[in-house]
Each structure stands twice: as C-alpha cells, then as structure tokens.
Symmetry: C2
Subunit: 214 residues, 2 copies
DNA sequence: AATATATCAATAATAATATATCAAAAATAA
DNA sequence: TTATTTTTGATATATTATTATTGATATATT
C-alpha cells in the first residue's frame, strides 16, 4: 500500500522534471537541493521533502545525480510507460491536443479521435484518424485506452464520461467546463480554461492591494 | 491593512461562480452554506471563510441570495469589467482560444491575433484578424491590451514576454511549457498542458481526483 | 590519514489552511 | 407577540504544509 501523497506535492512534480531536463541538457551531472532551490525559486527544504515522498534519491555530501533523479521522477510521473490516449471532440481544442508533439515524446500516444460529425469520419489530423462516435464502444473494446481527453461541449460531457467509464476507461482529462461525477476509482484531471482566465483576472484587480494602503 | 487573499482561495472562486450560475439557472433564490456545501462537496465552513475574504455577502437566518452572491463573486473575479485580450500564436491552441465563445460572454474580448507567419496576415478566425508580429508594437500602443495569451513555442516565449512587458502589458496567460520571468507587477497565469497530463499520469498510479490550473 | 566541508534524510518548529464551535441576528412558527 | 429555528461571521481548534535544524555520511582538502 503506497502512502498517499498530497496534491500540493503532485502539482509541483512536473516542474521539477522540467528543470531537471534542462540541467541534463546543460550537461550538469550533479546538483544539491540548495543550488536547485536557487534556480527554481523555492526552498531547499521543500525540494528535499517533496522528493522524499517518493524515495531517497540523494546522497549526503554529494547531492543528487541529475540523470538518476530525473529518471526516478519520470517514473513517479509514469513516464516510463506508454499511455494510450483517445480524444473525444475534434474541435479546435481537440485538434490542438492531437497535434501537440510533446505528449508523444513523453509516452502519451494518441491512438484515435472521435467526433459527433460523421462528415469528418476517416479524415486525419496529425496522422490520427477521426472516427464516428458510433465506433467508440468497438474501438475501446479492441484497443487498450488508458486516458480519454474530453473536449466536447459541457452539455454532453457528463453523458460522455458515463459512457467512457462504463467501457472501463479509468482516467479522464477533462476540458469541459463542469465537474464530472465519476466512480471513485476513476481519475479526473480538469483543465478549465475559463476558470484559469478568471483567476488571472482576479489577480489582476488585487495585485495593487498592498499591506499599508488601507 | 487589507490582507492579501491566498492563492488556494483564489483557485476555488471560479468554481463557486460556476455553481451559483447553475443555481440561478435553476431559479434558486437563496441558499445556505450548508446546502451549497452538499452540492459542491466541500465543508460549509470553508465556503463561509472563502466568501468572507471578500466581504459579508450573507444574512443570518436567511443564507445567501444567489443572484446577489453571484454578482459579488463576479466582481471579485473582475467579470464586471471587460478585458481586452490579444493572442500571440495562431496555431491550433491559439485558434482554439480565439474561437472559444465562453470568454467573450464573460467579458474577455479578443481584439487581435498575431502570428510569425506573414502568409496568415489579414486572414480571420472567428472574426478576429490575424496580424504580423511586426504590427505588435503599433497595435498595443494604439489599443488598450489588458491580457496577452501566449501560445507560441517555448523557445521564443520568454523573448516574447519581455517584448510584451516592455510595451506595458501587465497580464500574461501563458501556454508555453516554461516559467516566464517577469517584473513583479506583471501577473502570469500558466496553463501547462504537459504538466497537467503528467499529474494525471501520476495520480493514475496512485488514485485520487482533483483540479488543475495554478 | 586526519580534518574540514558539503549535503542529505529525518525530525522539530513554524506557518498556513481547513474545520468546528458559538454568540448574535434574522427568519419562521407558535 | 414570543419562542424556536436557522444561519451567518467571527473565533477557536485541528490539520496540513512549509521551513529550519540536526545528526549522519559522503566528498574534498591538507
């Protein structure tokens, strides 16, 4: 039984992976938490605590081996395996995901797209075939699907999620502007663009509210 | 001395706005924190604490008036004003943002798009003209620009951010996979798709559900 | 080889966040 | 009207997250 890692830690892990990748590119062989903390603008304590949630990757007096650490964090992030992903909805957002090369490099393979519009059936985006929604059941039964990206209108997203979950999909990457209700063994990761924009807006209006003023 | 609201609270505000909108559509006139907490799956305490960061919107023995509360939270989120937004990069992601109708409804008006590819100059997406990057300076000087959405490759994003900031843009909605370095009076809101996907992947091996968007 | 320095992992201390409690105000019922 | 119930906003408590400290162990220096 793995101990539960908190989501604040989870949120930080990809950032570490990103910076370690950069260090690797720059041929940095080893790094201390102190040095990394300067580069990343966080405390060295937090870095060590975060890493130690997943294992002891460092060595006293030496620091962390960049290559080893990045690989270990990669494993934590599941990047040592490949994940088959389908995209439901071939609107602009669906197409953006399909043609985003970085995912493939990290082991997230888009195996199919689906769209309600049958006129699109058979056409391809970035070599990925668009299929009719009627084919969803058959496709998932024949092919392993680890992740489904949902880029359909919010009005039909819950219904779609139910359909995907009933077919055994355990991870949903949700771009529809609502909270999906799913069984507790299904993971939902939201990317809610409107929410993000509103946060930006909120922070814009409050940024000048400084301590001594009022 | 007005205390700064913490980002954990900021992160939750758009979700309240969303649920209150739903209640309004369902013609619910008033609601208690207790009832809302059941619907939203959080504690009533947290809801009251969150709201009280921005004002006293409720009434003992009555609860919250849905219409009033939603309007107040709307103001907190800056939705009572309009924000002029430009999009830099007219790839799939840029086009997805440009054609996403919901932003406009919430007062975020896309006034122009820019792309390095001069062949696209003059063409339109969702009635928004694509301009050459050469026109950036001129456009920003002539037109108020509140927010710039950055959907260019990571390699050129920092350089672009510097350019935008030097032209006086104070808010960046960043989709490029890197941490932008900007003056402290500039707000950066990241939407890092790869990071989000990695978090999903991490959670898949460790089971949990939660929201994204920092 | 001996000593000094670097640095982690674990633990303790502090700070931030979330939840529970409660007095007072307002609504509702009697 | 008066009593009872509801429900907030404020405050107290509990929990979680972050930062600092410490002891152990590796590396570097003399």
């Amino acid at each position: 039984m793995k101990k539960d890692v908190s989501q604040v830690v989870v949120r930080r892990m990809p950032r570490y992976y990103r910076y370690l990748g950069q260090l690797l590119e720059d041929n940095v062989e080893r790094i201390s938490s102190e040095r990394l903390s300067e580069i990343m603008n966080v405390t060295a304590s937090q870095i060590r605590q975060d890493f130690n949630n997943f294992g002891c990757f460092g060595q006293q007096g030496y620091g962390y081996n960049v290559k080893f650490l990045r690989d270990e964090i990669g494993k934590v992030l599941g990047l040592d395996k490949t994940h088959n992903m389908i995209i439901i909805g071939s609107g602009n957002l669906g197409r953006a995901l399909a043609s985003h090369g970085a995912f493939h490099k990290q082991g997230f393979i888009v195996t199919a797209m689906f769209d309600i519009d049958k006129k699109l059936s058979g056409t391809k985006i970035n070599d990925i075939e668009i299929r009719s929604m009627d084919e969803l059941e058959g496709f998932i039964k024949k092919n392993r699907v680890d992740i489904a990206a949902i880029t359909v209108p919010a009005e039909v997203a819950q219904e779609l999620a139910d359909r995907l979950v009933s077919l055994g999909v355990k991870a949903l990457w949700n771009f529809a502007q609502l909270d999906l209700e799913v069984d507790s063994d299904v993971i939902v990761q939201n990317v809610l663009l409107s929410d993000s924009l509103m946060r930006l807006s909120l922070n814009m209006t409050r940024k000048r509210v400084l301590d001594d003023n009022d």
